[in-house]
């Protein structure tokens, strides 16, 4: 090799500059970034449309802030409140369901419409396919009973446990309700403590009260005061 030729490294730098791998201006860098972002969005939409993604997610506006909605090919599998954070929820789903997760809003359009109507008071039940695969066998019975409670009505934890075939299991029923992966749509807010206390709610008691007020329409909840 000719000793006066520059080293591979310094030639490589020239090479990178002249081939354009080092963007010359912030404007070019921005154009390149947005082109990459658009191409990536098309990948995600195609992956969903062609059934190559197992899980898709999108954000959904609500009076509670931005919810994270997640669907599989079977249906809605998860609805998360803002405080849960997008990444922690997706990371757990990646391990439990499949890492083939993409962001794509179209599969969640029906949910978005129905939730909008529900929050406006214009819808009393949801007509959505659900994927129950995050829900264990006992919780499936409990949440199955819960999903039959009509709009504006309530049951107690004890009643739900009994209906689920486990009369002494009101605490276990409470746990199952507390880990409901699809709140609002599976209406665990309609289950209260015996005696009329609100009980618990993973999304916070204020939201539980808000949902019950919405459903009773009057802003006055018709339940007995706590003893």
């Amino acid at each position: 090799m000719n000793p006066i030729t520059p080293s591979d490294d310094s030639f490589a730098e020239t090479l990178q500059r002249r081939l354009g791998t080092r963007a010359d201006s912030p404007h070019e860098l921005d154009a390149e970034r947005s082109a990459a972002a658009r191409a990536a969005a098309r990948v995600a939409d195609r992956a969903t449309a062609e059934g190559l993604a197992d899980v898709s997610y999108a954000s959904v506006d609500s009076p509670f802030g931005t919810l994270l909605a997640v669907a599989t090919q079977q249906g809605l599998v998860r609805l998360a409140f803002p405080e849960e954070g997008v990444d922690p929820v997706l990371e757990r789903l990646s391990q439990r369901l499949s890492p083939r997760i993409v962001e794509s809003s179209r599969p969640l359009d029906p949910l978005r419409r129905e939730l909008d109507d529900y929050f406006k008071g214009a819808r009393r039940s949801f007509d959505l396919a659900l994927d129950w695969s995050l829900i264990g066998p006992f919780a499936r019975r409990v949440l199955g009973v819960t999903s039959e409670i009509p709009y504006g009505n309530v049951l107690t934890y004890t009643e739900v446990a009994a209906e689920a075939g486990s009369p002494r299991g009101s605490r276990a029923a409470g746990n199952a309700l507390g880990s409901n992966p699809i709140p609002i749509v599976i209406p665990c807010h309609r289950v209260l403590r015996s005696g009329g206390g609100l009980g618990g709610y993973a999304g916070g008691l204020e939201r539980k009260r808000w949902l019950l007020d919405l459903e009773t329409g009057t802003g006055v909840l018709v339940i007995q005061p706590p003893i």
């Binding site: 390149e32 972002a37 990948v43 997760i101």
Partner: protein, 159 residues
């Protein structure tokens, strides 16, 4: 948590810019979109079988490199003009041809293995070990191809 694969969307977000830049430089702006789609859809297909401790960047650039090679071969078979000015939207992202035609042409004329080594090293920023994996040769051979590629480029295009 740390030894689990990230959700695919996070992987796509993390590597979309490197892959896009690599493909624009490697196949040109007009074909980059198709190669990009094929790269990430192929990655999605294979994704769950991937080991969590894999080097994801090297992995996806290897796929992109293979798609780029397919695209080069397809183009050679179709014998289309390499850069028909009318076919390229001038508002599109810059193409390598617009950057430095002489140098880009020289890269394109390198023997395949040298071209791959040069492109993966200097456009993809991969270390020698990963270039070797992408091309399917030993690390020494990858180092040699890279050096030969650079020597040839230097002859063709005085810096």
């Amino acid at each position: 948590m740390s030894n689990a694969l990230p959700p695919f969307q996070r992987f796509l977000d993390a590597h979309r810019e490197s892959v896009w830049r690599f493909l624009v430089c490697s196949v040109g702006a007009a074909d980059a979109e198709d190669c990009f789609q094929e790269t990430f859809l192929a990655a999605l297909h294979a994704y769950p079988r991937l080991r969590a401790d894999s080097n994801l960047r090297s992995w996806v650039l290897t796929i992109a490199h293979n798609k780029a090679m397919d695209s080069h071969r397809g183009r050679a078979r179709r014998a289309l003009p390499v850069a028909d000015p009318a076919a390229v939207d001038p508002r599109e992202e810059r193409s390598p041809q617009a950057r430095d035609e002489t140098l880009w042409k020289a890269v394109g004329e390198l023997p395949e293995r040298q071209r791959s080594a040069v492109v993966l090293r200097y456009l993809g920023d991969l270390p020698h070990r990963d270039i070797a994996t992408a091309i399917g040769c030993s690390e020494d051979a990858a180092r040699r191809s890279l050096h030969e590629g650079l020597t040839n480029l230097r002859k063709a295009v005085p810096a």
